[in-house]
Amino acid sequence: MLTEKEKEKYDRQMMIYGFGEEGQEKLKKAKVFIAGAGGLGSPVSIYLAAAGIGTLRIADHDKVELSNLNRQILHYEENLGGRKIDSAAAKLHKLNPDIKIETIADTITEANASRLVGDSDLIVDAMDNLPTRYILNQTAIAKGIPFFHGAVYAFEGRAMTVIPGKTACLNCLYHNVEVPKVKFPVIGVTPAVIGCIQATEVIKYLTGLGELLTNRILNYDALRMKFTEFIIKPDPDCEHCGKPPARRTK
């Protein structure tokens, strides 16, 4: 049940056709795992907090550095040297004291990913490296929960939503490719756009509204100011979501 305060706070979004109090209650009951409190994790968590997601479970092992501040808008100069999750939790609590913020300072690994995600309803991929993204993709598939991918480079970004068992996954898109992690160029407005798309997808999924960004990747080229979609088909031989070889019929 929504409180009178919540009804007033979320009035404008509950006015959206198909959203209503029922949609708001779905957001309130939800627990969202956000992997990363950086460039993407900042806008994702800010907009999900503002929308009234009941529990945000945020994982990040990094500390705030000066070079983060051009894009990681949850963190300020006063937070330099501190843990990102502490900085994030403090801002998000001020933004919305009516939701629960859970923080995790551990590095996400293959061994602990399932435990860290816990009983979250879905995973938001706001990481800064491909290996951890693959781990989270596999964790989402193993748990049968959605995975909301986003990535950025300079003025370019992309996003895709994965519904395990139904749609193409991150590995259907990238087919086990490994690229070395290097310092990448980026300006804050790029993860702002992509993070907002990820947050939008989460809200749509939880409320059941609209059509999800599945079996296609949305590519954003800010210098052209152009969005392009590419079709991503589920790969039956995908090592993450395809059928195990012994169970393949052909």
Binding site: G36, G38, G39, L40, G41, D125, A126, M127, D128, N129, L130, R133, G150, A151, V152, Y153, A154, F155, E156, G157, R158, Y174, H175, V177, V179, K181, F184, V186, P191, N219, D221, A222, L223, R224, T228, E229, F230, I231, I232, K233
Partner: protein, 90 residues
């Protein structure tokens, strides 16, 4: 077969800011090699010493992935190829 190749804006530094190319080709591989002739900077960026597409990139033909066996995928007159870089930043 005349096909159009579009590259991301971030590749503009390797192609004198030209982002769209017309090439004559019958396969994706031929198209990429023709692209390399028009833009040596892109050839160096996209193709390895054996002339294969570097694994950090994907090619889409009319918005559909050319993977697997990307280089031998046939193309037809009027097709549009997009070269996409695998990105992981957050």
């Amino acid at each position: 077969m005349s096909v159009t190749i579009e590259i991301p804006s971030v590749f503009g530094r390797y192609s004198d800011n030209k982002l769209s190319f017309e090439v004559e080709a019958q396969t994706v591989g031929e198209a990429l090699h023709e692209l390399g002739k028009q833009s040596p900077g892109l050839k160096q960026l996209l193709l390895d010493k054996e002339g294969n597409l570097m694994h950090s990139y994907d090619v889409y033909i009319n918005e559909e992935s050319a993977y697997p066996e990307t280089m031998t995928k046939p193309v037809k007159d009027g097709d549009k190829l997009n070269i996409v870089m695998i990105i992981y930043g957050g």
